[in-house]
């Protein structure tokens, strides 16, 4: 492979000149610039990134980190949308995307991940920081690598969804439709930093609507479709008079939908079911899900932008991405009885 020196020899200049011309340093005549560029073209020179990295300390690599908590982390469509937003930005700026999925062992991350962070291979890190107990970003910050957190605590630069507003929106929607007997399909407390805010939003809206949140029946799932079905079964058996199920994510809502179908309950005529996240599949269930859209693409995009600002030495503000109520076919006024 041709090196800087080959280019320099061919162009009749020094390697420093070539290097500087290629990085757009000023103070070169058009003639020199062209000579160099021509030589580059002619011999098909491409810079060696490892050498550049060693010399300059910058690698052009951004790591996207999402801890491996549940089994199939890659199966979460939300993560993928975020990734797509990040990828688009990085591609534009010529950065490469490395993905790291640290295994969490008893609350601390694995050795591989630690080594990667310390290795000097990363210019920046974007972490899907939804795991409160494991401090994915700690080693990153200690090492002084620019980092932005998605959905994490605002201690560092972060971009998160306005889950409180999401909770309010979905609960208000149910109340406006006239629902009062609402079952909640939730998840274990604080498995996810966003969940608290979401629940708080739901509670606030309930309160505002004159409904006692604490007395609403609840079932605890684990985000999976199967658990959604189980929870729905359990709630509907214990409280046959429920007119709506509010689910904390779309996958569980899809499970609830399945269960309703199995029980012969028509949705939304006899039972309203709502989700949260607006994953692609939510639009294609029968009936399609009423849910909250988190603008995952935007989230990814904003996270990248913030990271690049950090890389430019700026100090961007943490950002909260607004959410949006998406009303589809799975919600309707409760049946009169």
């Amino acid at each position: 492979m041709p090196t800087l020196e080959d280019v320099a020899r061919r162009a009749g200049v020094s390697t420093a000149t070539v290097s500087k011309v290629l990085s757009n340093t000023p103070y070169f005549t058009e003639a020199t610039r062209n000579k160099v560029l021509l030589a580059v073209k002619e011999i098909g020179y491409v810079p060696n990134l490892a050498a550049r990295a060693l010399s300059s300390g910058r690698t052009q690599i951004i790591a996207v980190v999402f801890p491996y908590v549940y089994d199939a982390i890659f199966a979460d469509p939300r993560i993928l949308c975020v990734l797509e937003g990040i990828d688009a930005e990085c591609n534009l700026r010529g950065y490469n995307l490395l993905i790291s999925t640290p295994r969490l062992i008893e609350g601390s991350v694995d050795e591989n991940y630690l080594q990667l962070i310390q290795s000097g291979y990363l210019d920046g890190v974007i972490a899907l920081n939804h795991v409160p107990f494991a401090s994915i970003l700690d080693p990153v910050i200690k090492k002084g690598i620019p980092a932005v957190s998605i959905g994490g605590p605002p201690s560092v630069c972060s971009v998160s969804s306005d889950h409180h507003a999401g909770g309010v929106l979905i609960m208000e929607h149910l109340l406006e439709l006239g629902h009062q007997r609402i079952g909640i399909i939730t998840v274990p407390d604080s498995i996810n930093t966003g969940t608290e805010q979401l629940l708080q939003g739901i509670q606030d809206a309930a309160q505002a609507g004159g409904l006692d949140f604490n007395s609403l029946p609840k079932a605890v799932g684990d985000y999976s479709t199967a658990s959604g079905a189980d929870c729905a079964a359990q709630l509907l058996q214990q409280h046959p008079d429920l007119t709506a199920l509010l689910c904390l994510n779309d996958r569980m809502a899809m499970g609830a939908l399945q269960e309703a179908h199995r029980l012969g309950l028509r949705v939304p005529e006899q039972l309203t079911i709502t989700g949260y996240d607006d994953i692609p599949a939510a639009a294609t269930t029968v009936p399609p899900l009423t849910t909250i859209n988190q603008r995952s693409l935007t989230t990814g995009y904003e996270a990248s932008r913030m990271l690049f600002e950090l890389l430019n030495g700026q100090k961007p503000e943490s950002k909260i991405i607004p959410v949006e109520l998406v009303v589809r076919g799975s919600s309707a006024p409760p049946a009169r009885r």
Copy 2:
């Protein structure tokens, strides 16, 4: 950050010794080995990957390449499963995963991608090579980087699903149920290298069952759920006597399901619908989809394994991953009339 030299000084040996001990080169006494290891621990030394890469020519980075053909490539759950398989293997062996999504412009890849390939940053490449017209792997092979192709032509090391068998399985299933009036929801010719084999399998099974494949009504979608709904509408309008819709992927099948529901057709009692891929969502539709599972996780896993064999100087055989018929609730014998 501490360097090799710091470790060497502290352990009272040369940098060469440290380097060799850390890479498990033989011919060192336990004493020396321990001295070095201790020093490493004490000062918290972590090797600088860029320096290592420059010096050794190996970066410990594997790129997973999937071209950006349709808009939301990351939305394809199949890709994610494959990625998960790859990630698991790479994680195990201490390799890092870089993802590259080259933009295809008029059949050729973008400059960024080309530069990345030539940059010496990659030890190996795994390409989701489902795009026949763009030779994603050409520059990789020209550069001499070990590469394996998923679903691509067997010109290089490749791992692909047995789509022919998949086609046979799904068609046989329909025939065994007693369907004869089958509509096919397909995609444009050879947009995907696997599709041909799949269609061939369907055709062969039809033939074997005494059905003329060419006379079966067909509609052309684009893999999306929406297009599946459109195709279903079109087919059912023109051929109201169809008892089954065979869809070339799950997303289109889900669209067909929606459309059937809209038309008031009960699935599977009045209309059988089958998919292909077995994406996670396929198990949670109402009714759940009968489909073909491609073992995407295994595919990813095998691809990594082959790549590591290549990296070890071996010459692995291309592999064909068997597929599996998954019978769920969306298929049943045709209604008697």
